[in-house]
């Protein structure tokens, strides 16, 4: 009979559950990527593992392991882990930046603690990426953060990115700030186009 049945007990050996933070952290330097991934996954359950995970992320070159490290940092969710994920926005590596954004988007409560700093960062690219976090972040202050940004930011690209998100989330309170932005960047066709789109929708809803 070529279709054979194996019961779960013999499917694979269950891995040993390590209860030693130091041993798991050492596993992040194992030779085999599968072992490093397993260590990263396990460390995701340890509140104090952020320094080890971030240290490994700094050195790791195998993408599947980096992915596991980022997921583990998100599960840890400590202040240090979130700051580490936010730091990835400064990376030269586009994959790392995007992967960190994906993780941060799913952490609304923790992101609320760092987003104001990111939106006020000296680096315009970081501010644009921070707007990218807000794109699908489930948090009641998303519109407020975006309105503060378009009110204060002098960079047209940052404001354009914010306006993109506002096109979906803006409510009546966005009307005046968006109108002011249109006035401020009257010569920028993209701002004019998207701003009018937002104001048009708001007008129909009122």
């Amino acid at each position: 009979m070529p279709l054979i049945r194996h019961e779960p007990a013999v499917l694979a050996d269950r891995p040993r559950a390590s209860d030693d933070l130091a041993a798991l952290s050492a596993g992040l330097s194992a030779l085999a990527p599968a072992e490093r991934r397993a260590a990263a996954h396990a460390l995701g359950a340890w509140a104090q593992s952020a320094p080890a995970l971030l240290g490994a992320l700094d050195k790791e070159t195998e993408q599947s392991v980096r992915s596991a490290l980022l997921g583990a940092l998100a599960r840890v969710g400590s202040e240090e882990a979130v700051a580490g994920l936010a730091d990835c926005l400064r990376s030269e590596d586009a994959w790392l930046r995007n992967a960190a954004i994906e993780e941060l988007r799913a952490m609304p409560e923790q992101v609320a603690g760092v987003i104001a700093h990111l939106l006020a960062d000296w680096d315009r690219d970081v501010r644009i990426l921070a707007v990218g976090i807000l794109d699908t972040l489930r948090h009641e202050r998303v519109e407020e953060w975006l309105l503060q940004l378009i009110d204060a930011d002098a960079d047209v690209n940052v404001c354009g990115a914010a306006l993109d998100v506002l096109a979906e989330v803006a409510t009546a309170r966005a009307e005046a700030p968006v109108a002011a932005l249109l006035e401020r960047f009257a010569d920028e066709p993209y701002i004019a186009f998207t701003g009018k789109l937002v104001l048009g929708r708001l007008a129909r809803e009122l």
Binding site: M1, L3, E7, A12, H41, G71, M107, E109, R138
Partner: protein
Amino acid sequence: MQDATISADDFQRFREYFYRRSGIQFEPSKRYFVDKRLAERIRATGCNGFRDYFAKLRFETSGAEWQALVNEMTVNETYFMREDYQFECLIQSMLPELMAHKRPGEPLRIWVMPSSSGEEAYTIAMFLLERWPHLAERDVEIVSSDIDTRILAQAQAGLYSQRAVHQLPASWLQKYFTREAGGWRICKMLRDAVAFTRVNLNDAAEVAAYRGFDVVFCRNLLIYFDDASRRQAAESFFDVLRPGGFICLGHSESMSRISSLFRIRKFPQAIVYQKPLEGL
């Protein structure tokens, strides 16, 4: 009194958001379907109209309303031969590639997750028996898992309604089923061939027992997960699969939207995802 009217603007705004979050696209022809369910959710949540509801959906930190809406907007049903182009793809495209890398005597291993009432696992078994000539020389293990033990018991019992078997070729129905008072019972040979197991995909320790699979079918499950759980599931599937192994998702799901761990493979019959051969 709540106004649950959905304007054309509202519909457009909602469908863009829903697509971005879920990958499910509602054509304008689905407007009635969408409006009706949105109106139901607006009433159920006590929201004051679409805008109020959309804000709740968009910003609610727990994501509970998003989940409730997804449940309403998706069709949760299974039957034999559902999305059978993927089984064609298994036979015609995935298996030839997998066989090229298999050692003699090494079994082919297929995992169906979630099992639900077993239609998918049994369909795969029938496809292999009927359509894959190499079955005579290669052992195949099919494991079908679910978090719900009641549905697994149902799968093991193998009794199905007329509706569940309506797409099966008559010859397969005759060959592998017997008519009973409660419906159609799948034959003992197939019931014995599939291992039904309980597993929680969100529990990494439980999934760690599942390794070395060549193909995973995980169709129409991840849509019900939040973003973080979806990524966690993708990580788990990566470890479950052998290098070069394939994962098949439901027609509205896309691994590219979840994780960059897998390669997209566009076969003539279907798009599936592959763990890189050099991966681990």
